[in-house]
Symmetry: C2
Subunit: 375 residues, 2 copies
């Protein structure tokens, strides 16, 4: 009855962890949530008020398929200011989150048997976006991605997909690495959704090194707007008309009052987003010190996003089994590394989208559990 | 550089008409808009207020991929009451509009070279949703669709996709026709997005005749919520887990505050939606009488949606050429029938999502233009 290819699409194990955690909570058990990949902060008030006003003003109809002009302009202004670029707003396409952006971009660029290079581990959904066009994900070990990538390029390689800061590792590519990748022949598609959530030197956009690169980004993480479903792409000018047609066909347009709130986010909420980043930075330090104190290894050390991926293979190779045990026995929810590719197996991902108190408490509970069971 | 299959995806000619209309308006010309497929009404206030409250209450995070439980329950209640059914809310999946619903449903059911039967003319985007899975649309003449359809069923036919009331014709399948189609072996996918916008006897859901049918519907048309991007599917129970995985991978979840507004729509805004339907009914009568008075034929007469498709082939076979001329010379924007399939060619679609005054004015201008140019 179903398509034979449907089994290619993997469920998220982390959602099973979440469901089990919720079941335990219903039974009265306390759970520390360190599994979810979304900011725990509410969306900044100025953005919420802007959406409410846009609703009140009657912005409830379809918009231009490419997005509201002022939002496209605000996005190019933001990129130009942040990364010292000179990009036209014509190159910006607004979408209902980054997922639809990837769907139409890959539809435009990929055909059957084309290859897309991604790191392993990687964001859990990348392979699904690739395989649904008939193309194939080619996994390059995360550790030496930028030096090893040339060994994996074939005449079928259409795209190198990068994601820095990275989900699930929280680490970043160095400027020179992005520059080097940008000089290769496949198109760089740079998922910059975690930009602005990092410590130390600023993030670098792929557009700083090549005008032919494609940026995928959105409002979900930096502005704590996950539920809003607002994303965008910055693409070479010659892609725009084709993507407009795809957007018209497959999604019509993004939500108008959400788009208007996006303008406000870029114009008025950056200071608040930066405050959230300071909090993530404090939590990151706390989480890394905590993991180190219970001898859990996160090398290289993350300095971006809100994740730490740590090795647990000396305790248990099956990350889903261990995550389930830690949930049931210690009351801490974590994401199994398996979700993020074969080289994620034997690891767990801790997301520090929770209070400092809960991060400390969760890590203590994990440490106690591992000590009692394995040491 | 681009996928060789990208040319399969057709642009919307009506969007070119809209763009040209906007250009003319910028030059100071008055245009009567009868081209757009969306309600001219603002979204009912009670729905807007509900979204504002949901925003204020901090509903800005991801939800369950299947949708908020209370919304799924409200949708099944609505279907059960309206069509005298007994459907479980477990079978409801909430999506960001009907487009993502079609994408994941077709991804689940279709593989390369499968066939999907659609009427010709049909909603402009159906072929894109079908071909992007590698399957093929099979066009059955609209006029005798339900009697001729069996001639087009092969062992490759997976789905019969119906849309009643129909875009672009505004006509409806009779109860007996839906019943007859439901008894055939391919899955019926029933796009019920125009349900509730009709005159006379109530619309019939495909679920009244078979529990194996799939319903696609949303809030855009009946509740005047096009920009909100809120849709849903009602599917057989055994589809749910697979579609949940697809939704997790490709769209994560629908917008939470929009979902909450959807609950309010179903619980509190049906009377207002019914008032809008009364207005469409008045406009439909006016439009049909107007078209008749200038000898433009719309057979069979529409009794649903907000469209009339009329034959202009005795004036000009190329519907895009004629639509462009009517726009430039008469100042009336209409959709070229070509957008809706080969058998739409030689026709124009008039959408009566405009005031009675403008509908009358527009039709008079069309009549005057045709008389001067062709008679």
């Amino acid at each position: 009855m179903f398509s034979s290819k449907i089994e290619e699409i993997q469920p998220f194990l982390v959602m099973d962890i979440l469901r089990k955690a919720n079941d335990l909570e219903r039974d009265g058990k306390k759970i520390v949530h360190l599994e979810l990949g979304e900011p725990d902060f509410p969306t900044p008030k100025v953005i919420v008020e802007s959406a409410k006003k846009a609703l009140k003003d009657g912005n409830t109809h379809y918009t231009n398929s490419l997005g509201i002009l002022e939002l496209r302009k605000s996005i190019s202004d933001y990129y130009n200011e942040t990364y010292n670029l000179n990009i036209s707003s014509n190159r910006v396409i607004v979408t209902n989150g980054t997922s639809p952006a990837m769907l139409i971009l890959f539809k435009l660029l990929l055909e059957i048997d084309d290859e897309v290079i991604i790191s392993d581990p990687h964001y859990a959904c990348y392979p699904s976006f690739i395989t649904c066009t008939g193309a194939k994900p080619v996994l390059v070990p995360f550790k030496n991605f930028s030096s090893e990538v040339t060994n994996y390029i074939t005449d079928k390689t259409k795209i190198i997909l990068i994601n820095s800061p990275s989900n699930p590792t929280g680490t970043r590519l160095r400027k020179e690495e992005i520059e080097k990748l940008s000089a290769l022949h496949p198109v760089i598609v740079s998922d910059e959704i975690y930009h602005g959530i990092s410590t130390g030197i600023r993030d670098h956009s792929a557009l700083e090194f090549s005008d032919n690169s494609v940026v995928i980004n959105g409002f979900s993480k930096f502005f704590a707007m996950t539920g809003w479903r607002l994303g965008y792409m910055i693409v070479p000018e010659c892609f725009v008309r084709k993507l407009e047609i795809l957007q018209q066909n497959f999604f019509i347009s993004a939500n108008p009052f959400v788009q208007i709130a996006g303008i406000t986010a870029l114009k008025e909420a950056i200071p608040e987003a930066k405050l959230m980043n300071q909090i993530y930075t404090k939590r990151r330090k706390l989480a890394l010190e905590g993991l180190e104190s219970i001898n859990l290894e996160t090398r290289p050390h993350p300095d971006g996003a809100f994740y730490a991926l740590f090795n647990v293979s000396n305790f248990e190779k099956d990350s889903m089994k261990l995550a389930s045990e830690i949930l049931t026995s210690a009351g801490v929810a974590l994401a199994p590394g398996k979700d993020f590719g074969p080289r994620g197996e034997g690891h767990l991902r801790l997301s520090y989208c929770n209070s400092e108190e809960n991060i400390e408490k969760g890590i203590n509970l994990i440490g106690k559990f591992l000590k009692e069971k394995y040491l």
